[in-house]
């Protein structure tokens, strides 16, 4: 049986013709957490954006397919696709400060999907929103529903966004570096919250991060990206025990460890970078991009 979310050979290009994602293939199953790691600019966020149909204007999908729940998204009419995404997928964004509309109260921002896409009535949607806010440990949910975003702290807002993401019981959740913009102490709690919510609601979760420490706590499998190309996909255990790609090994060595702070911060060596550059070159040539 094919996976709930199956991305095959996804290629995304800049308007100038430069590839940003190079033939990415990823499978995520319901109830599972898959991680996407890579340095900044590796294109990990773009995968999530391509799935959800919110790629920046300068980028477009030029090849490959995205199959969500057995349906091919790329060939769908925009409206149908938007409604399907609205009903089955959700996003936990990176920056809780800009992801809530500053001039609208919290309540309608959580309930809109329930009312617009799932056709709930207002009272039911509000009850549900209150339950969710309670579930993500927001004190005094009734007051928060009537607050404006600027009246709440960053951690509170991220909790609200998590609540909002799980509101319509989506089968797929894409978490785009959900803890990057937060304080380290808040990070840990938010991460735990996302994990709990995912387990309770049984959604498939695609977790994007550059932090291997974070990923080891939450995912079952992961893909490593470099310049928009998947260099390794592995189970969490295998990845940490015996990474198959040199780059993965280099990344693991670059992760700081409390036990050995001096030795553990090894930068990725030139040798590894050269190998990666070669791989990218080969792919580009095979797919008709000139270097």
């Amino acid at each position: 049986m094919s996976a709930f979310l199956s991305i095959e050979d996804l290629t995304v290009e800049l308007k100038s013709g430069m590839p940003v994602l190079r033939g990415v293939s990823i499978d995520v199953n319901v109830g599972k957490v898959h991680g996407l790691v890579g340095e900044s600019g590796a294109g990990k966020s773009m995968i999530g954006k391509a799935i959800l149909g919110i790629l920046p204007r300068a980028l477009s999908v030029t090849a490959g397919s995205i199959i969500l729940d057995g349906e091919e998204l790329q060939s769908m009419a925009p409206k149908t696709r938007r409604e399907l995404i609205g009903a089955t997928a959700a996003l936990i964004p990176q920056d809780p400060l800009t992801a809530l509309n500053p001039v609208r109260r919290i309540g309608p921002q959580i309930t809109r999907r329930l009312i617009d896409i799932l056709g709930w009535n207002k009272a039911n949607a509000e009850t549900r929103a209150l339950e969710l806010l309670d579930e993500v440990n927001i004190p005094d949910p009734d007051r928060v529903m009537h607050s404006y975003p600027h009246e709440l702290s960053g951690g509170m807002r991220q909790r609200i966004l998590i609540a909002s993401a799980f509101a319509a019981e989506p089968k797929l959740i894409i978490a785009d570096e959900p803890t990057t913009a937060l304080d380290v102490t808040v990070q840990k709690r938010i991460l735990k919250l996302i994990e709990e919510m995912q387990e309770r609601h049984g959604s498939a979760l695609l977790f994007v991060t550059h932090d291997l420490g974070v990923i080891s706590k939450i995912v079952q499998s992961l893909s490593v990206l470099y310049e928009g190309k998947v260099v390794e996909t592995a189970d969490l255990r295998n990845f940490f025990m015996q990474p198959s790609h040199l780059y993965s090994r280099a990344l693991l060595q670059a992760t700081p460890k409390y036990t050995d702070p001096d030795r553990s911060l090894t930068p990725v060596s030139d040798e590894v970078t050269a190998i990666l550059a070669d791989e990218i070159d080969v792919w580009d040539k095979e797919h008709g991009y000139h270097v």
């Binding site: 954006k49 959800l52 149909g53 919110i54 204007r57 409206k79 938007r82 409604e83 995404i85 609205g86 009903a87 997928a89 959700a90 996003l91 964004p93 990176q94 920056d95 800009t98 992801a99 809530l100 509309n101 500053p102 001039v103 609208r104 921002q109 809109r112 999907r113 617009d116 896409i117 404006y148 600027h150 966004l161 909002s164």
Partner: protein, 283 residues
């Protein structure tokens, strides 16, 4: 308790109240002009010509701010002139804001070819010198209240379109737009429900500022006698007439000038005050 936020709020508050106070006084006087004005603004009487304002020797009771060369009461003419000034200001600024706002929103949010067309039209439009453009338009349209309003709208909608376009672009790049898209909202729905409420305060502030500009433009046009017919009083017309007799009767020039100055200043201060009021962080 002194914190920066309440200080700003207090200062903004005072500014807002003073300017709103002057403008509402003026608006009330304009609306109830027939009851408020001490004299008929059009009645000429050469026996009472060039009477000084009330605190000077030779002033007549009932002519508070004196009379002009033809013996018409200055205060009454200022009050009736406010009808034209405020009428033009409100109509012209609102229409310009509406038209410019719509084009700006569409260009800034949809980008692409819509933006290219709107932006090029604005560029070309703005390359005409505004006062000459206004005079030319009036010459074509003929004098009259509706021509002035039309001229101001035709010239100044670009001001709104420019600012609103950039604002819509900035808001359109915010994550909450992505969030709304993922939640299944259509583009137009996002424009109306997410972007518009964020851009609206800017539009309101600009409309207020534009009212001040419209008052000036109307005064300029009536100064060069291109406003409405000469027998209804306008501030610009009064200033033009007062200019001739400045050495004999300074009050004919100075009082409409002060009124004009206070009104334009109030509109701009009201705009600034509203801007602070709308800022969600200062609210």
């Amino acid at each position: 308790m002194i914190d920066g936020r309440s200080q700003i709020r207090q200062r903004a508050g005072l500014r807002l109240w003073l300017s709103a106070g002057w403008l509402s006084l003026l608006a009330l006087a304009a609306i109830f002009a027939p009851f408020v004005a001490p004299q008929d603004p059009l009645v000429q009487d050469l026996f009472t010509s060039r009477l000084p304002p009330f605190w000077q020797d030779g002033a007549e009771p009932g002519y508070w701010l004196g009379t002009d060369n033809l013996g018409r009461d200055v205060l009454s003419r200022i009050i009736y002139g406010a009808r034209v000034a405020l009428g033009v200001a409100i109509l012209a600024a609102t229409l310009a804001g509406l038209i410019g706002g719509i084009f700006g929103l569409l260009a800034g949010f949809y980008r692409g070819w819509v933006d290219i067309i709107v932006s090029r039209v604005i560029d070309i439009w703005m390359s005409f010198p505004p006062v000459l453009f206004a005079i030319l338009l009036i010459a074509v349209l003929g004098t009259g209240l509706h021509s002035i309003v039309l001229a101001i709208v035709i010239i100044d909608w670009t001001r709104f379109a420019r600012v609103v376009r950039v604002e819509a672009m900035t808001q359109g790049a915010m994550d909450y737009v992505d969030a709304a898209t993922v939640a299944g909202s259509g583009r137009f729905g996002i424009l109306m429900r997410e972007i518009l409420p964020n851009v609206l305060p800017t539009i309101v502030v600009l409309v207020t500022l534009q009212m001040g500009i419209a008052v000036i433009v109307e005064a300029i046009l009536s100064f060069v006698n291109l406003s409405i017919s000469t027998d209804s009083p306008t501030w610009g017309g009064m200033i033009a007439e007062g200019r001739i007799a400045i050495y004999q009767a300074w009050w004919v020039l100075v009082f409409p000038l002060i009124t004009l100055f206070l009104t334009v200043l109030s509109f701009s201060q009201l705009g600034e005050g509203l801007k602070d009021r709308f800022d969600p962080v200062l609210r």
